[in-house]
Symmetry: none
Subunit: 141 residues, 4 copies
């Protein structure tokens, strides 16, 4: 099982809608496949120009480490030098905060990750999870 | 005038549709803003995993140099060391072949670029231009 | 369908054996998954220390570009600046010569790639293909 | 004396088996030679895609600094900026936690290092040490 573009677009649509309905700042959303490669991305009008890099780094860390952004943040707070070193290993492309959310398929396998950025990290993660669930998958924040 | 997400999605939709109707291989499409930053991207099912990087490098060179991919290719063929050095300047993120197409607004200003990859470079460029025109802008391949 | 470690070990075993039986120099062999990430690798006694990087770069380019090393070499010979620029896009991790071979599953999808280095590029590619076929997959050199 | 591929395979086999028998999460295992270069690696089914990079960074730091991961961690906790700076010196490829274990031969010389990742850092180190001892060498965690 792998993420289709149709599923990725559904995730992005619902994640952005979740933010708009809640009155949050504009959310940028990326969907990566199980290898950490970009499937789809949208940056809404008014978002700052670096949102793609931030969204991708949240999702990329989730895929490569097999853990969501909240778990990464807990590790970074407990052992800062560990997450700093992990980041060196992955070329500085890991952002260990909520908003990077693993996508698990029916049988529990990781089939990709979603990265959301724009509002608070917790709201970003909530929007990502809403999108993932709407597309029929299990979200691990 | 700047590219909205709505316009970017229209460009991607028409560029991908152009390829499907012509029976080309699956096309991946990125839209960058006037600063070379990602607005939107789609990679269709069955495309190889590195398509985002290729599409972005086609469009990024167009924005940063202010010239379309076809013009960049002519320069690379006439003076290979020049484009190699330009690439050093821009961190290796410039791919000087057709498929990177500038987007010009009503008054002629560059408001972004589109990068398409998947079929031959010339077909990639044709799909990008079709998308740009469908969104009401002028394409410079 | 994805490559298991058992299949990867079978590919490596047969590829190395192919070289030994033919009297070639010691072959180093890497197997990557469909996202370009390392599954398994062996470097035999007497091989030079940089063999992992070479094997991986052959296989990595195959996965990311969706084309085998022989096709990449043809492109590099026809249009040197193109493959040089592609390499910049992928962080200099692409080695466009025979020995990087795509692994296709039953339904034709790319499920990984094998990189072999140690003898001539053509012999490297032949050993990779022998390993892939022995594991029940289709090799695209 | 140097590590042979046969010894490296024995180390990997026993390290992975140690984890399976103890019911730990799937362990990925790399073996580096005395120059820090990859000899052999296996990533089991179900492990996250970035395991090679993590395993290698654990082992690479051990070889380059001549100290095991546990000693590196003690230093990182006492003097975080020192290990951060060391990482700059080695291109960000050092992960200073347990699981990177030096391999010493009969006469005490360092002949390589093993990196294990997948379960807790302490379990990773225990599996590495078990593999090294099974192959007839002395482990320095």
């Amino acid at each position: 099982m792998s993420l289709t573009l149709t599923a990725a677009r559904r995730i992005i649509e619902v994640a952005m809608q979740t933010g708009r309905q809640a009155g949050w700042k504009p959310l940028s959303v990326v969907v990566l496949d199980a290898g950490g490669h970009v499937l789809s991305f949208d940056r809404p009008d008014g978002a700052s120009p670096g949102r793609f890099e931030i969204a991708r780094a949240k999702a990329y860390g989730a895929v490569m480490l097999g853990m969501g952004g909240s778990a990464q943040m807990a590790r970074a707070e407990a052992q800062a030098y560990f997450m700093a070193a992990v980041n060196g290993v992955f070329g500085g492309q890991v952002l260990p905060v909520p908003g990077g959310v693993l996508v698990r398929g029916a049988e529990g396998t990781v089939i990709g990750a979603v990265g959301v950025t724009g509002d608070t990290s917790d709201n970003d993660a909530a929007a990502a999870s809403a999108g993932i669930r709407a597309a029929g998958f299990v979200a691990e924040a």
